[in-house]
Subunit: 305 residues, 2 copies
């Protein structure tokens, strides 16, 4: 298959491209710069908000579009206008153009559990109404409905995956407010102390980047009759407390005890570390999966750093 991947040089994009290349797919990869993009990809370097760049990624026929390019959470908070321009306006243009070039194109869209907001009920499931607070989350929620609408009109054949925390990102600034989850892995792998900005009892939903990429490949191939009418599934995730996660990482990395201290930041705690019970029957019916258990999650996440 020929697959266009936006955000192909990003953390998730690189892993998705790696899995697609292993399948033998042809990839057109878009990103603002090509550094980190896998070899064997036709690179398009530029801003997705540029019409000429979008024309270039659709210059040849393609079989699917995986849309990962985004202004991430922290960057969107700092520059809401940039988030609107990229995460809403450019993506809407992208969908309109995809539908014009190849009606019914499979489009896989990366949304986020952030769309659910901060005030979650004791159990989150496929029926939990959205209440985004972050700019990034509001924009992702808006575009979930654009994907559903265009799919219901058969303009595209859309699949929206709501991503939990994806582990473990590379070190350094990502623009993601949830980056602390990954930073914990780097610190413990290097046997360095880590000041965790959420409490040890704080609970997160997480998936390894490897499992995440497998889910994106499934989303390219899935029969959309298996999807709910909203075209949106919250991906299955391992729910773990930060303390239990830290302990498992330390065990697997032979790190000494006591490296992690907890200094909760109120807003990070509210946004990322109060994840209640999660039920994802729609995703499971459609064949999406989590890492199986906490040990596998940590093993898979460590393999990526």
């Amino acid at each position: 298959m020929r697959i266009v991947v936006t955000g192909a040089a990003g953390f998730v994009g690189r892993e998705v491209c790696k899995h697609l290349l292993q399948r033998g797919d042809d990839i057109v990869g878009l990103d603002v710069n090509g550094a980190g993009m896998a070899g064997g990809i036709r690179q398009v370097i530029g801003e997705i908000a540029e019409p000429s760049v979008r024309r270039e990624i659709f210059a040849e026929p393609c079989d699917a579009l995986i849309h990962l390019a985004t202004v991430p959470g922290g960057a969107a908070e700092a520059d809401p206008a940039a988030s609107r321009r990229v995460n809403v306006d450019a993506m809407y243009d992208l969908l309109v153009e995809a539908a014009a070039i190849r009606p019914g194109l499979r489009v896989v869209y990366a949304s986020s559990i952030a769309v659910l907001g901060d005030e979650l009920p004791p159990v989150v499931d496929d029926q939990t109404p959205l209440s985004p607070r972050m700019i990034y989350a509001g924009h992702k929620a808006m575009m979930e409905h654009a994907v559903a609408m265009f799919s219901n009109r058969r303009a595209i054949d859309g699949v929206t995956l709501r991503l939990p925390g994806i582990l473990a990102r590379p070190k350094g600034p990502s623009g993601m407010k949830s980056a602390f989850m990954s930073d914990l892995f780097h610190a413990l792998k290097n046997h360095e102390p880590f000041e965790c900005p959420v409490s040890g009892s704080g609970t997160i939903w997480a998936q390894s980047v490897k499992k995440c990429a497998e889910n994106f490949v499934s989303a390219v191939l899935i029969d959309s009759a298996l999807l709910p009418a909203s075209r949106t599934v919250t991906l299955p995730a391992i729910r773990t407390s930060m303390a239990d996660l830290a302990e498992e990482i330390a065990v697997q990395c032979n790190a000494p005890a006591g490296l992690v201290s907890y200094e909760p930041d109120k807003s990070l705690e509210a946004a990322f570390a109060r994840q209640p019970m999660l039920r994802t029957p729609a995703a499971e019916r459609a064949g999406f999966a989590h890492d199986g258990n906490r040990a596998n999650l940590v093993r898979n996440a460590l393999a990526s750093i």
Copy 2:
């Protein structure tokens, strides 16, 4: 209170303004033309997509904004770009500007049951995921989340009301695909034959424009702590078959039997006449109401034409 009403010359807008004037509120009314706007309103004539027009409606301090201006369903299908420009882009600008001028402004937004889509479960309630198909519906759904996001950030204090069929609209083209529901009232009131474009067994959710206006006034005044986290409520509605509705109208208008024939149009039937059971606990907790029963619905609807 000083209240800005967009779409003030529209069917719902006129009735809302009438109720606000009776309360003694000062109204700034925006519409593309002033015809039909009640006396005693400070009129702003222009397109909401024009920045200068939006500046003018916010020229003086206000206590609430009721946002009714919209490219309606039929018009949006005919011109998706116009719907995007008005129903998404201009409204987003309006919210940003409202928040800048008066942070925490009460904004009441008219959404629509169309956001739920065509393929409804046997019972619709506050947890039913959205799956819009019409352009209008997709755009309304997108902006529900913008209202929630800005409210969660305390930029505005938003309330989204999802309107069912509102009865009875004036005769003539409205751009609303659901106008046939109102046309039935006009025909039977005038003892004229009516060819109904959905089946007699087709079921709709409806509310009189009088009750609808009362709900908008409630939404201006409500304590937002009574609202769900999504800031959105589906308004309570009377569920009736078209045949039962026609019979009740005929009785109240002393119309002879046999005036109504049914020639179902597949797409209108799917979009408007397969409304299943409706549960609206969130709206009821917040004090919103329907007309009580079918006879009252018809009585209130006939009073408006």
